[in-house]
Symmetry: C2
Subunit: 497 residues, 2 copies
C-alpha cells in the first residue's frame, strides 16, 4: 500500500478518535453537567476543535493527499473511496482559517447561552445581536468554503451535513412536497372530521415505568446495553461513540407516547452507527453517510415501522403491562390512532409525521435567505410568522414558540434542517423497498422481531458506510432515484387509507 | 511582558484545557461508562495524552523556555514561579519519547483491564506478565526522566505527583512513623481493652437518605452544586475540573459512616481546587501543589475536623434526622467512638486513621524495590504478606485482599502512594497551626460552620497555588518545617487522650 495513503489513515484515525472524545463531552454537557460548568466545557470543546482542525489543515496533509492520489492505482475500491472522503474533509477544514474557527466557536457558544435565557423570557431583542454575529461569521466561513467546494455559501453549509447536497436540488423536492402537503393536510383533517378524536390513555405514567419500557423496546430493536445507555435530556438525541452509544429521551408523566417514540427514533440512529463497517472504524469512509441518511434510519424505526399497525398490535399488551392500563383507550387500534394524529401546530418537535416537513421547509427558506443576506436577522420574527401562516395555517403566540424554538441557528447550526425532511422522504423509499425485497419484515414487526428489517438495512445501508454518495446508496438499495413518490404513497396509505 | 513568556502561557493554557477534557472523560469512565465502552475510551485518553505530550515536547517550546528565562528580569514573582513550573513540566515531558508514552499507556490500560478480572478471581498469575510489562516500561520512562531531573528513577516517579519529593527524604519520616506506630497501635488497643466496643447504629440506611445527608454536608462545607455533582463509583474520588467538580462516593446500606466520610474527604479535595488562584487558572503556577498537599486538604476535613468531637456533636442530630435514628448508639459520644475505632486489617481503604500509614509505608518500600529492580513482580505476593505481618501483624487471606487490592500499580501509578501518608502528616501540622492562629475554628465546627477553617486554608494554602515548593508552603503556613511531631501529637490526643 502507498506509504502516503497509510500515513493519511493514521492521521485521520487521530482526527476521528478526538471527535469521539468531543462526542462524550457533548453528551455530558447535555445530560450531566451542572450549569456552572458550561464555560469550562466550552473551552475544552473549542480546544479540541482546534486540535482537530490542526490535523487537517496541516500543510503536510495536503502533500500526503497529493501523493496518495498520485498512487491511487495501488488502492482498492474502499481505499479510493476513503481517499476521496479524506480530500473532502480536507477541503472543508483547510478553507477556513483557524482564527475564524475560534471566533465562530466562541460566538456560537455565547449566542447559545444567551438564547437559553432569551427564549425563556420571549425576548428576541436580547439574542438578536448575538445571532447577527453568528450569521455573519457563519457566512464568512461558508464563503471561504464555497470557493474550495465550487458551490454557493449556503451549499457549503449543506455539504457539511450532507455530502453533495445542494439547495438547487432540494428546492424542487421541497416545492413538490409543499404543494402536496397543503392539499393533503386539508384532506386528512377533512376525512377525519366525522370521527371521534382518538382518546389518549389518561393517568400518571411514572418515569421509571416509562424508562423500563423504553429499555425493553431498545433491547428488542437490537440495542446492546453493554455498549450504551439511556438517559434523560431536554431534547432527545443519540450521542456518544459507536462502542458506547448514549441515547437520551425525555419523559412526560401525563403522556408516555412522546418519550417512547423518541426512544425508538434514537435507537434507529444507534443501530445505524453500530452497523457501520467495523473494518473502517475511524476512517472517513467508515462514517455514516450524512445527516439525511442518518435521519432516514431513525425514521424507518420511529415512523415507518413503529407507528404502523403491525408493530402497535404487538406493542399494545406491553404498554398495558407497563402502566397497568385497562379499558378501550389501551386497545391497539386506539393507540395507533393516538400515534397518528394530525394537527398543525407551531412547534416542530411536537409536530406529527404529516405536518413536520412544512416546519422544515420554512426553515430551509429562511436560513438560505439569512446566509445569502436576503433576510436580516431583525426581520426574522415577522418572516417566521408569515411563513407559518402560509405553510401551516397557524401562527405562534410568541417568538418563544416561533423563531426562537430551536437551538440550531443560535448554536450556529445552519444547513442542518433540510436533513430532517429529506430523511423522512428517504425513509419511506427505503422502507417500501425493504418490505418488497424481504417478505418477513412486516410479519416480523407483528411479533416484535426487528431482525428481518435490521438485516436488510445492515446489508443495504449500514455496511456501505461512506463508500458511495448518499443518493447512490439509495439507488443501490431501492433500485430508483431519490424522489418524493414513496413518501406521498406512504402518507396516503397511512392517513387516507 | 516578554513575548516568549506570553506565548508559553498560551501553550500551557491549551495543555491545561486538554487535561480538563481528560478529567471529564476519566470521571465518565468510572461513573457512567458501560463496560463495552472501555476500549474506545482508552483510545480517546491515549490520543489526548499524546496531543498534550506533543505540546510540551515540541522543539519550539524549549526555545521559548530558553528565551523567557533569558528575559526573566521582566517578569514578576508569580510569573517567574510560573516559568519555573513550565520548565519542570517540560523536563518531565521532553525526557520521554512519544513512542514510550504510547506503549506505556497501552500497557497500563491492558494491565488494568486484566487486573479487574484477575482480582475478582484471586489469580495473580493471570495479571503477572502484564504487571511485569508495566513495571518494565515505567522503569524505562523513569530512567529517561531521572537524567533530566538529576535524581533516581523512583524519585522521578515521586516527582510527578509531588514536586521535589525524594525517597531519601521520605524514608526517615516513614521510619520514624513506623517505629512510633508499632508501639502506638499496641498502646491504643491495650488502653481500650477494658472498654466495651463502640456499637455502630444498626439498620438499613437507604442510599437516597445517605446521599441527601452527604449533599447537605457538602453544602455546609462550602461545595457549590452549580459547579459540581455527587455520584457513585466503585472507589470514591474527586474528578472533573475546577468549575465542574465531580465527586463520588459509594454507599453501604448497612453502614452509613464510610460513604459519609468519603464525601467529607472528597469535598476537602474539591475545596482546595476551588480555592486555587483564579487569576492563574490553566497555568502551571495556578495548579494544586502536588498530591501530598492535596491529600492534606482532604484529610483536614475528613480526619482532623470531621472525626473530632466538636463536629460530631453538631453532626449527631442531623444523622438521627436523616435515618430516623433513636437510642444510645445514635448519641454523639458513641458515634465519635464508631468513627475512631482502631483495628489493624488487611485492606488499605478500610483502614482507620491510626493503622492507615502502615499500609502506605509497606507500599512505598515495595514499589521502590520494584522500580529499582530489587524485587521481582513474581515475588510480590510473598513480599506483601511478609510486609503486612511485620507492619500490621495481620495477613491477608488471599492476593485479592493482598497485593492485588489497589488499582494503582496495575494502572501504572507508581510513586503515588507516599502522598497518602505524607498528606496525613501535613494535615495534622496544618490543622494544629490553623487552630492556634484562628480561635473560632473549633467553635465553628461545633456549630457546623466551616468558614473559619476554610478561610484560613484559603489564605495559607489554596491561594498559594504552586507559587512555592510544597514544603515551603507548609513552613509559611505553620512556621515550622515538615515533621511527624504534629501527627504524633494528634494521634496521642485523639486515641490516648
Amino acid at each position: 500500500m502507498a506509504a502516503a495513503y497509510e500515513e493519511l489513515e493514521t492521521r485521520f484515525r487521530r482526527h476521528s478518535v478526538l471527535r469521539d472524545a468531543m462526542a462524550v463531552l457533548r453528551w455530558d454537557s447535555a445530560v450531566m453537567m451542572p450549569t456552572g460548568g458550561a464555560g469550562a466545557r466550552g473551552d475544552q470543546l473549542a480546544e479540541l476543535a482546534l486540535v482537530r482542525h490542526g490535523i487537517l489543515a496541516d500543510a503536510g496533509l495536503a502533500e500526503l493527499l497529493d501523493a496518495a492520489e498520485g498512487d491511487a492505482g495501488e488502492l482498492d475500491g474502499w481505499q479510493r473511496a476513503n481517499l476521496a472522503e479524506m480530500r473532502r474533509c480536507w477541503r472543508h477544514a483547510s478553507a477556513v482559517p483557524a482564527d475564524l474557527i475560534r471566533t465562530l466557536g466562541e460566538a456560537r457558544f455565547t449566542c447559545e447561552v444567551v438564547w437559553r435565557t432569551a427564549r425563556a423570557d420571549d425576548d428576541f431583542a436580547a439574542v438578536r445581536p448575538h445571532l447577527e454575529r453568528v450569521v455573519r461569521l457563519t457566512r464568512e466561513s461558508a464563503e471561504a468554503k464555497s470557493g474550495a467546494l465550487d458551490c454557493t455559501p449556503y451549499d457549503a453549509l449543506l455539504d457539511v451535513h450532507d455530502p453533495g447536497s445542494r439547495a438547487a436540488g432540494i428546492e424542487p423536492i421541497f416545492d413538490e412536497l409543499s404543494s402536496f402537503l397543503t392539499d393533503f393536510i386539508g384532506e386528512v383533517v377533512e376525512s377525519r372530521s366525522g370521527e371521534p378524536p382518538p382518546s389518549p390513555p389518561r393517568g400518571r405514567f411514572p418515569v421509571d415505568a416509562q424508562r423500563r419500557l423504553g429499555e425493553r423496546l431498545m433491547r428488542r430493536l437490537g440495542f446492546d446495553f453493554d455498549h450504551g445507555r439511556l438517559d434523560t435530556s431536554h431534547h432527545p438525541f443519540n450521542g456518544g461513540v459507536r462502542e458506547d452509544q448514549r441515547l437520551t429521551t425525555r419523559y412526560d408523566e401525563r403522556d408516555f407516547t412522546s418519550g417512547l417514540m423518541a426512544v425508538l427514533h434514537e435507537t434507529g440512529h444507534a443501530l445505524y452507527e453500530k452497523g457501520l463497517p467495523a473494518k473502517w472504524r475511524h476512517q472517513p469512509v467508515g462514517a455514516s453517510r450524512g445527516m439525511s441518511m442518518h435521519e432516514s434510519q431513525s425514521l424507518i424505526f420511529e415512523m415507518q415501522a413503529c407507528r404502523g399497525d403491525a408493530f402497535i398490535r404487538w406493542l399494545a399488551p406491553l404498554v398495558r403491562e407497563a402502566f397497568g392500563g385497562e379499558g378501550d383507550e389501551w386497545r391497539a387500534d386506539n393507540l395507533a390512532r393516538v400515534c397518528r394524529r394530525v394537527r398543525p401546530g407551531p412547534v416542530r418537535v411536537d409536530a406529527d409525521e404529516v405536518t413536520y416537513p412544512a416546519h422544515v421547509i420554512l426553515r430551509f427558506h429562511l436560513e438560505r435567505a439569512l446566509i445569502a443576506g436576503d433576510l436580516k436577522v431583525a426581520d426574522l420574527p415577522d418572516a417566521w410568522r408569515e411563513g407559518m401562516r402560509r405553510g401551516l395555517g397557524v401562527e405562534p403566540r410568541d417568538d418563544r414558540d416561533g423563531c426562537m424554538q430551536d437551538i440550531h441557528w443560535f448554536d450556529g447550526g445552519f444547513g442542518y434542517f433540510p436533513a430532517y425532511a429529506l430523511g423522512a422522504i428517504a425513509a419511506a423509499q427505503l422502507f417500501a423497498a425493504a418490505r418488497e425485497s424481504e417478505a418477513d419484515i412486516v410479519p416480523g414487526l407483528e411479533r416484535g422481531d426487528f431482525e428481518p428489517l435490521l438485516s436488510w438495512l445492515r446489508t443495504n445501508v449500514h455496511e456501505c458506510g461512506s463508500r458511495y454518495a448518499p443518493r447512490e446508496i439509495l439507488i443501490r438499495a431501492t433500485g430508483r432515484s431519490f424522489d418524493v413518490d414513496g413518501f406521498k404513497d406512504h402518507l396516503r396509505a397511512r392517513y387516507l387509507g
